[in-house]
Amino acid sequence: MKKVEAIVRKSKFEVVRKALHEADIDFLSWWEVKGQGSAKQGLIFRGVAYDVNTIDRVFISFVVRDINVEKSINAILKSAYTGESGDGRIFVTQIDQSIRIRTGDQGDEALYDKK
């Protein structure tokens, strides 16, 4: 099992979600984060235009069987891409144990149902 974490543009989140759905990834958690990277965001306050490097991002996190890591990465890569600075990152981590609270299922069994 692997945990896939992706940091994507807020405006791309729904697109990514749809792409994941098409890749049969229907189980995920996400939240809003602030991100700093190479991208800048222009803002204006009382006549002063300024750039901030703090940008709202969506952090997506889900755990999948090893076999599904690649296709989920691909789904994100394709859907979150714009080509402009700020598209984000994907990180993959090893997961030791997973449990589904409702059923007590463990390991791969605890993950999403569809293969």
Partner: protein, 460 residues
């Protein structure tokens, strides 16, 4: 000495002063009906006090009332755009109104145009002195308000009408296109229609159309424009299969609805232009219709979907306020109750069945609530107008079926004129400036793309 005196007081008064026996009568009944000579209207401090407040209340309806009501319903990435739209219309339409809008709507013109649009005599409020009495009055012929107060009161109506349309195109319109469209619409649609119905020269006024506070001029007018734009602009880019977006902040919606209700007392009870029994009656019908419609929507929610909702009851209250608007100074309590109880049924059906079926994206139901509610209110005025409220006006249920016909003409001509002109103006703006936001702008949200701001920020 008598001559000199006459010079000061004016001939009519001077003449009757020759009849001392009359003097007491005149004095004693000053507040009641005039005897013989037409009395000179003057500025009543009491009526002016009420109308100054009513004017401020109607402004409050647009900002922050409507702004919050609409702003809470959209997604958080678009709230500033909605607030900005309401705010800038308040500024721009106010200036347009002063410059020539008031003159177009309430002034006179000559020749064939007279029934359709006023001229430019009052442009920049030229010739209106600060102590001039209003040429317009309803129940109080003598105890008037300053003309400027009438100008201001009507200004707030001119502001809110295009603002209502925002609900139809929220979350997907370019700001520049929006602004130019709205200003043109105010000039080309609102001012003439206001002239038709409310000006002494207006053809619908002369026909006898009844519209106490703007059912046709404001709500039907804005409502049909909303529908047209929603259709022409196309749907928002929502996740596939989804046609609903959850309101991002319902407490703002409630605040907005409550402020609309509060402000509407000025809108409706102010439309009699005096603080008298008619104002009291209009206040009462307004409050009762809003309450009835709010409850009625809550019950529909409860029966049909098992739970009464907050957005539902707020929407119902607004629908009730819309529907009673044309009728407020003509119907009694029973009329208000029926108008209120039924309007929620019509609007509920419209937004939960018809809109879904036809699939146009009237984002915040500007047509579903204001269009439908306004049409129902205008019809209901033709049904329930009671001579016990204003003796000169009766509806079909009080023996005057003709009134219903007149109301239908007023509704139909507004629907057609406003609908057609909206199509034209939309096309013009679309071709010249562009009117629909790009996909990227829509996805990223209009706040950041149109205004370089975000509504909520945690940053240091």
């Amino acid at each position: 000495m008598i001559n000199k005196f006459i010079k000061y007081i004016g001939l009519p008064l001077g003449l009757s002063a020759l009849l001392p026996v009359f003097s007491f009568a005149q004095a004693a009944v000053a507040a009641a009906a005039p005897v013989a000579a037409k009395p000179v209207p003057f500025i009543s401090a009491g009526n002016t006090a009420w109308m100054l407040v009513a004017t401020a209340l109607v402004m409050l309806m647009t900002i922050p009332g409507l702004a919050l009501f609409y702003g809470g319903l959209v997604r958080s990435k678009n709230i500033l755009n909605v607030l900005m739209q309401c705010f800038i219309l308040t500024a721009v339409i106010t200036l347009e109104w002063i410059v020539f809008g008031y003159s177009n709507a309430f002034g006179s013109s000559t020749g064939a145009l007279a029934p359709y649009i006023g001229g430019f005599d009052w442009a920049f409020l030229k010739g209106i002195g600060i102590n001039d009495v209003s040429p317009y009055f309803i129940s109080q012929e003598t105890e008037r308000i300053p003309h400027l107060v009438f100008v201001l009161f009507q200004c707030m109506f001119a502001v809110i009408t295009p603002a209502l349309i925002i609900g139809a195109f929220a979350e997907r319109m370019k700001f520049r296109g929006f602004l130019v469209f709205s200003l043109l619409w105010a000039i080309v649609v609102y001012n003439p229609v206001a002239h038709w119905v409310w000006s002494a020269d207006g053809w619908l006024f002369k026909l006898g159309a009844l519209d106490f506070a703007g059912g046709t001029v404001v709500h039907v007018n804005a409502g049909i424009a909303a529908l047209v734009i929603a259709v022409m602009l196309g749907k928002r880019r929502l996740p596939s299969g989804q046609h609903i977006t959850a309101p991002h902040n319902i407490p703002l919606v409630v605040m907005g609805a409550a402020l609309l209700w509060f402000g509407w007392f000025g809108f409706n009870a102010g439309s009699g232009l005096a603080a008298d029994g008619l104002a009291a009656s209009a206040f009462l019908t307004t409050h009762v219709a809003a309450a009835a419609a709010a409850l009625s929507w809550a019950l529909l929610d409860w029966f049909i979907n098992k739970k009464p909702t907050v957005v539902g009851i707020a929407t119902g209250a607004v629908a009730g306020l819309v529907a009673i608007t044309p009728a407020a100074g003509f119907v009694d309590i029973s009329g208000a109750l029926i108008i209120g109880l039924l309007v929620s049924v019509f609007c509920f059906f419209m937004v939960s069945v018809v809109k879904v079926k036809f699939g146009y994206d009237d984002s915040l139901d500007a047509f579903g609530v204001h269009g439908i509610g306004g049409i129902w209110g205008a019809i209901a005025t033709g049904l329930f107008a009671s001579p016990l409220i204003q003796s000169a006006y009766s509806g079909a249920f009080y023996g005057n079926p003709k009134q219903l016909g007149i109301q239908l003409i007023a509704i139909a001509s507004t629907l057609i004129y406003s609908g057609v002109m909206t199509v034209i103006l939309f096309k013009v703006v679309e071709k010249t400036l562009g009117i629909r936001a790009t996909e990227e702008e829509e996805d990223a949200g209009l706040d950041i793309t149109q205004h370089h701001e975000t509504a909520y920020s945690d940053a240091e």
